[in-house]
Amino acid sequence: MKIVAVIPAYNEAVVISGVVNGLKPYADCVVVDDGSVDSTGELARRAGAIVIRHLINRGQGAALETGRRYALQLGADIIVHFDADGQHDSKDIAVMVEPIAKGEVDVTLGSRFLGETVALPFTRRLVLRLGILFTKFFSGLKLSDVHNGLRAFSRAAAEEIRLTHDGMAHASEILDIIAEKNLRYKEVPVTIHYTAYSLARGQGSLNGLQIIKKLIIEKFFHNQ
């Protein structure tokens, strides 16, 4: 079974080597260097990842879509989305992959609320709760954590999930597609490490509002 981890990275030189080294035992690493101006790509390659380089920064959604296509070309049986900032735990890969390998579900979604969360600030908890309500309202999926970057897809599911949102709205887009195509999904408890680094790099809480705005506009102009 070929497991490919797609890691979108934008200026993550400080942590990328550690992330790739941690993941290597569990999956083939494909780092999509999204136009970084630091040495992210070079360091990832040296750590043993395959690096695909966007010449200019196009956003995390765009990077994940590029990674998806490449992973399918590689012949991946399971594709895992993994954040480059070190907030995920590579040991969780096995737990994420298992239900798919067994054929129980098509998609597994990491949930920090089912799992153990290390140092989650209050405001972020609030924004994530709002995100849950929003998702329930629009896509009808009942989830405990909607913007978790750790996900795994069977090959068949990955072939269906073509991302069109270049920015951060892809997280909600994935859920929309899961609902629309009636894919079997399951939430899996995962550990998130809220380090000072990942908090600084992650989305600010205000950013969440912008994502919601974008998705609402999308509901009105549905032309992709």
Binding site: D28, H54, I56, R58, A62, Q73
Partner: protein, 108 residues
Amino acid sequence: MFAIFKAWRAYTAGGLDRRKLLWWSSFWLVAAVVILSPQTATLLANILGVGRGVDLALYISVVVLFYVLFTMSRKVDRLEKSLTDLVRELALGQAKKGEKQDGGSAPR
């Protein structure tokens, strides 16, 4: 007057097509008339049920501006999309080339 003259010059030089020439000429002509005798605008405004000519100009410009804004944002969206597609194709093409140089060896 000067602007119309310039538009004609551009037309004869081949920089403007006929549609654009007509468009610009009439635009400047209307502008000239309205500036030289504002009561024509008021007359037109009264026909349309607006109190003053200035108000009419304001209303029209707001509508036009919003329309332009709308088409522009759609255009930017399309551009962004094609830019992403382009960047992606380049990235994937480059990755493929890299594989060949490695002698097609399986990565990892």
